[in-house]
């Protein structure tokens, strides 16, 4: 691709939100919160002051420290001369101490209590498509249950020929399968419906992760129990202190779901449902019940709290969509982004992630001029169904003028990731869930990158 020129007349910021925008911004999210108490948030803002914005601009990103000449040629660095720690100094290895800022992060004002809350995956710091286990975002409804593996049981009951109880060992003795899938919370981007609110890709898009799951096909377990002919629905229930439960349609359960006991080759992490969780590829994360303890087979939907009062999408006419399970195609540029500013003019590789709950990603387009001109991105293998796909736009030269970066994903069904205006025209601004709008990052002349909303 040739060098792209910046838009001539797009340099000025033409509008900023009014003070009422600030008060009305949605933070309702998915959680157990109905509306943010504006007074509390103002207090928080007063404390944050001007520092919040500057810090969020990526000035604290790793790798910005000055180099020490003593470690550079022609000198020989100390680590090249002395012995390092021996084997087994760290029986379970951890990331380098220089990467300690790469962690999940939490938005404190979002929810009432951390036991029923969510944090965010640091997408800006990750390469490829696999999320390391310790960085997969967490969403709990009653804290992370600490299940004793030998006391773990999975029950299947209801409209079956024979109700069964499985131990963890039983599950592991079935023929296993391993697959890569993304898991996205339906509320990912839920704070951005009314305007650009959070200044970082970790916060705007970090309720997603992608790992390789290993487990047993749910279809196989249901076959063991023998599903009665009139059954249509499953109620899936966690063993946590929220007894988190959802209704799952039987056809999905028989299609590609699994009960997973491993992620990325090791046993599930506690916060991801140890020792076993449900995997529902392409469907909203809330249905991927963690610490799963029971599956009831029935002929009617269960209408649990999490599929009626939450995870339903309120429309402008006051009615609400229910059973909005599938995650629409979506993409985001993960570098540059507010956490990773452009340090220098000249060549930049634009990196991003795309995914769809309906299958494989077919194409991703990238613009650097706010959608005036688009360029087809390079997709990196492997490209798998209901899995993150990595894309790059190589060879862009940034000349220091303001630039507006966006990506739009197209999946194999022909679905095109929409602009926010198109979503709002149908859904208004109060639906909280399933925001898959195109994201804009503005690169300022200083190289700082910020989250902006375009008309």
């Amino acid at each position: 691709m040739k060098k792209t020129t910046s838009p001539a007349q797009s340099g000025s910021i033409q509008a900023t939100p009014s003070s009422s925008d600030k008060r009305d911004l949605p933070a309702d999210l998915a959680s157990d919160l109905n509306a943010i108490d504006p007074g509390r948030r103002r207090a928080l803002l007063a404390g944050l002051g001007a520092a919040g914005g500057a810090a969020a601009a990526g000035l604290m990103a790793p790798g910005r420290a000055m180099a020490d000449p003593a470690n550079l040629p022609p000198n020989v660095a100390e680590w090249s001369q002395v012995l390092g720690p021996g084997v087994d100094a760290f029986p379970y290895g951890m990331p380098s101490k220089y990467e300690k800022t790469v962690i999940r992060r939490y938005v404190e004002w979002l929810t009432a209590t951390p036991e029923s809350s969510i944090n965010f995956t640091p997408l800006y710091a990750l390469d490829g498509i696999v999320t390391p286990n310790g960085l997969c975002f967490e969403r709990h409804h009653g804290g992370a249950a600490e299940v004793v593996p030998q006391d773990y049981r999975l029950m299947i009951n209801g409209m079956v020929d024979r109700p069964l109880v499985f131990t963890l060992d039983d599950l592991k003795r079935f023929p296993p399968e391993s697959r890569f899938h993304f898991l996205e919370c339906a509320a990912n981007g839920g704070m951005e419906w009314r305007g650009a609110q959070l200044n970082g890709v970790q916060f705007t898009h970090g309720m997603v992760h992608c790992v390789q799951y290993t487990g047993v096909s749910l279809r196989r377990l249901l076959e063991e129990a023998g599903v009665k002919p009139k059954a249509k629905w499953l109620m899936v229930e966690g063993g946590d202190s929220a007894g988190m439960n959802r209704t799952l349609p039987l056809d999905k359960a028989l299609d590609d779901c699994m009960i997973a006991y491993s992620m990325n080759g090791e046993r599930l992490r506690t916060e991801q449902g140890y020792p076993a969780r449900l995997v529902v590829p392409g469907f909203e994360g809330n249905m991927w019940v963690k610490w799963i303890r029971r599956i009831e087979v029935g002929d009617g939907a269960y209408m649990a709290r999490e599929e009626t009062s939450k995870y339903t999408d309120l429309m402008p006419d006051g009615r609400a969509r229910r059973f909005t399970w599938e995650m629409d195609a979506k993409s985001v540029i993960t570098s540059p982004c507010p956490e990773l500013p452009c340090k220098q003019k000249g060549p930049q590789v634009i990196k991003g992630l795309a995914w769809s709950g309906r299958g494989k990603i077919a194409r991703v387009d990238v613009t650097v001029d706010g959608g005036r001109n688009w360029h087809q991105a390079r997709l990196e293998e492997p490209i798998m169904s209901k899995c993150l796909t990595r894309f790059y736009l190589d060879g862009w030269e940034w000349n220091g003028d303001p630039a507006y970066l966006q990506s739009r994903a197209i999946d194999e069904t022909g679905y095109v990731q929409p602009e926010m205006a198109a979503l709002q025209a149908v859904r208004g601004v109060n639906s909280i869930y399933h925001n898959n709008a195109i994201q804009t990052w503005r690169i300022n002349p200083t190289g700082e990158v910020e989250n902006v909303r375009l008309a």
Binding site: Q9, T113, L254, M303, T324, W325, N373, I410, V416
Partner: protein, 365 residues
């Protein structure tokens, strides 16, 4: 001798059929098991204990009953600390009552009365998940009564309406008919072939900036935390000295075991940070005067305790966590009101000792 199975064969055939004839042609209905050695038949007792869900038609509703009148005192004792005396909610906990005709508003208020489509969901959720941090401790009668109370507060049923397995499926919710099936994909104005790639629009106009909104937590974490602390409360430094003296007294319990006991408390109390949750922070609590955590709105009872100079000694704390209500009545005074703490109390002496040992260790100064 060994037997060779081909477990993948049936799955493959069934998966092919599933795409068109999902329910009828499923291999899931096949008669015999492929792995009879894996898993045991669930006994009726096991199923009865775990099968707690209730469906909209009332299927699964257990024996027992309740009315709003019976539910009110239970609600005040076990729920009001977070949800407020009238379901209006404290802090950012969910509002349960009101919000009628707000669903088209700028700020819709989604409550049981204004939004929830089924009465069964209220029962199902309370039974499995409430009170927060003490799940599955309520009797079925209590759950019926609480459900009836919340429906009554939302003007859905009368105060003498008897909610039970035969009536719960018949309650009509105000917003029950306002839900419809997912129509997506939507917001698709163009076909892929028609997507514009060149000169698609004349100009780029910014209409919003996250930087101006400025609610992003500091990436380093320190500033956001400092701000949150400033916005909430900090432990009173004046009480640090007596706390130290107290900690020096012989610790009887096991702090490790006490950490587990503390799980019953953590929904409402922080112990190692100054931030108040629905209950006051316990940081530096040992030796401190009751009712003195900055920024926490105390009940009348604990405002009185502060005036009386009640100190959180080992003995007082042990008595309080054993029987919170009796402690307030006996120690502070029956006329001084009640504690808002919904916790019923710890029965085992050992648990209390362990808990106090843990609080001493974790609460520091």
């Amino acid at each position: 001798m060994s037997v060779w199975r081909n477990p993948m064969k049936r799955l493959t055939i069934a998966a092919g059929a599933a795409a068109v004839l999902v329910f009828a042609a499923s291999g899931a209905q096949a008669g015999e098991r492929m792995f009879p050695a894996l898993g045991k038949i669930a006994t009726p007792e096991q199923i009865k204990a775990w099968d707690i869900d209730v469906r909209p038609d009332g299927a699964g509703a257990p024996a027992g009953s309740g009315t709003a009148a019976k539910g009110e005192p239970i609600y005040i004792e076990k729920c009001a600390a977070c949800h407020g005396d009238f379901g209006e909610a404290r802090g950012r906990y969910p509002v349960l009552v009101g919000g009628h005709d707000t669903l088209k508003d700028q700020r819709p208020e989604k409550t049981i009365g204004s939004y929830w489509p089924y009465a069964s969901t209220v029962f199902d959720y309370i039974k499995r998940a409430m009170p927060f941090g003490e799940a599955q401790t309520l009797t079925d009668d209590e759950v019926y009564a609480l459900t009836a109370f919340l429906l009554n507060m939302n003007d859905v049923i009368d105060s003498d309406f008897v909610l039970d397995a035969s009536t719960i499926g018949k309650v009509e919710m105000p917003n029950g008919d306002k839900f419809f099936e997912d129509p997506r994909p939507d917001a698709q104005p163009v076909k892929v072939a028609d997507l514009c790639m060149k000169d698609c629009k004349p100009e780029v106009k910014v209409i919003g900036r996250a930087k101006i909104i400025d609610v992003t937590p500091d990436k380093g974490g320190a500033k956001a935390k400092a701000a949150a602390k400033a916005a909430e409360a900090s432990a009173p430094a004046a009480d640090a000295a007596p706390a130290a003296a107290q900690v020096a007294a012989a610790p009887a319990g096991d702090p490790e075991a006490g950490k587990k006991v503390f799980r019953k408390c953590m929904a409402c109390h922080n112990v190692d940070k100054a931030k108040n949750k629905i209950g006051p922070s316990l940081q530096g609590v040992m030796g401190r005067t009751a009712g003195t955590v900055d920024g926490f709105k105390y009940s009348n009872a604990f405002q009185a305790a502060k005036d009386q100079g009640l100190k959180w000694t080992d003995e007082n704390l042990a008595a309080f966590v054993a029987k919170p209500k009796d402690f307030v009545k006996d120690k502070i005074g029956a006329d001084k009101g009640r504690t808002r703490m919904a916790f019923a109390g710890l029965r085992k002496e050992k648990e209390i000792e362990d808990l106090i040992a843990y609080i001493k260790e974790a609460s520091g100064e």
